[in-house]
Amino acid sequence: MKTSMVELQHITKSYDGQMILDDLNLDIFENSFVTLLGPSGCGKTTTLRIIGGFEAPDKGKVLIEGRDITSVPAYKRPLNTVFQKYALFTHMNIEENIAFGLKIKNKSRQYIKDKIAYALKLVNLEGYEKRMPDSLSGGQQQRIAIARAIVNEPKVLLLDEPLGALDLKLRQDMQYELIRMKKELGITFVYVTHDQEEALTMSDHIVVMNQGYIQQQGSPETIYNEPENAFVADFIGDSNIMGATFIQDELVEIFGKRFACVDKGFGVNKPVDVVIRPEDVDLLPEGEGTLDGVVTHLIFKGVHYEMEVQAGGFEWLVHSTDLFPVGSKVSIHVDPFDIQIMNKPASEDEEALGVHE
């Protein structure tokens, strides 16, 4: 049975008359790794800052373990934050940085010493006690920021794009480090990022946000394989999104050709959006698939070839390990379970709201 750690109820927030969050409701379960994912300006950082207590919501409640903490100041909340640009205290050495929260809580000297040793071991920076923050690399500084937060034994650790300032390789290493730390600590992580790959790699649960609304939430697999609307499909990974007609249950017409699918309940002869991931598009010799086309671009990506196929008046993005040179006539085949049907948004507003079931 999952229990709620953090609950946001009807949170509304606006700055200078501009709506940032509108009636946001979110349940974050105990011991989960939850990622708030979305483009900049979607409200994800504001959501995190409201949980942390750095912003007050205009309306709504923040609950931790069922207790209303909306009016509790940041310094009294049982959670800690790792900030985007580390925010270390540059006038203190590493040891003093990590001890900051513990000293304020008047912990004993021995307790603090043990905690520092434990935290530095956890972030793989043993022996850095006397160094100054400025003498550390970005990745090391971020580890110290994490160590400084977790020694306080927070129930929830909030991470605001902590890897945003690091280079790609380091970022990937840190992703694995964070997963490991999360397992060792056994606490709830709430992570904010605009990087969909980061979100897919680390999270148990992803909350996709846009324009102040939650577009979809679920496991990384659900978000990737079953996007509920075009925004989510487009934001998470590469995809082919096109308009189509839902003929009847388990049958959809794309560019005049009928494809078998597994979705039901979208009505009869209804316009819908269809998402097909590039790796799910199978290319067959001309005439053997459902929709014929011509390869127009070809790039070698290492793991696979990336091709563009002109078919039905649409540029299909295709990832395949089979090579079809530019100009080859091919035929597109898609397995029924690889076709994801989504309701068409009736208006821009509805698109922002997402499609709730």
Partner: protein, 275 residues
Amino acid sequence: MNKSAFHKKLLAGPYLVWMIGFTVIPLLLIAWYGFTARDGSFTLENVTAIRTPEHLKALGLSLALSLTCTGVCLLLAYPLAMILKGSGLGKKGFIVFIFILPMWMNFLLRTYAWLNLLDDGGILFQICKRLGLPTVSLVGTNTAIVLGMVYNYLPFMVLPLYNVLVKIDENVINAARDLGANSFQVFYKVILPLSFPGIVSGITMVFVPSLTTFAISDLLGARKILLIGNIIEQEFSTANNWHLGSGLSLVLMVFILISMAALSHYDKNGEGTSF
């Protein structure tokens, strides 16, 4: 040396001439005057003259008044700089502008204005009289001199403080709050130590001119109070003894150098200092 590097160095030429002509040579002249008697023979008398009771008293008073002035400026400027940072008004530059505005007026003129405010029968005098309070004339007192110093040098304390305070990352303050520090703890554990370079810089920029001033003490001290600056000035002007004046100047310079060295010890990064 290749040609372009040489050309680049040539650009420093005018400044080098300036520095030699207006800093190095005058300093050497002061040193020469300071260590010679009127007949041109070497002597330490001009320097050791600081030990006479009259000079020691003036130096002591100068130190006391300039330290008071620096302390008052710091106490006034820090909260102000915090307010400027917090309100965001400083960003628009308007408030800072208001504070700098008086500096556009002549320094002596401003000090004369204070004379009018504090003098017997001046504005303060009149206000006290109207309100039935005991009338006071502050001119000729140490208080008047400190008031004049604080008024003139306060902007030099506000600006460096404001500059370091606005540079403190808001997230560093948030991090301290996040780690359990209340407003008071955030201030003395994080904001205060991080603003240290600004404090050091402000102290230097207020302490040095107030230690050496003679115009303010001349006007607001009504020529009754002699600071070390006044004594040096008199040696050069009325007493026409450049040798003694230079000797005392050298002693004062040593005092300033010692205080600079002490301060720079606290400002390891050299972020705030202008020296």
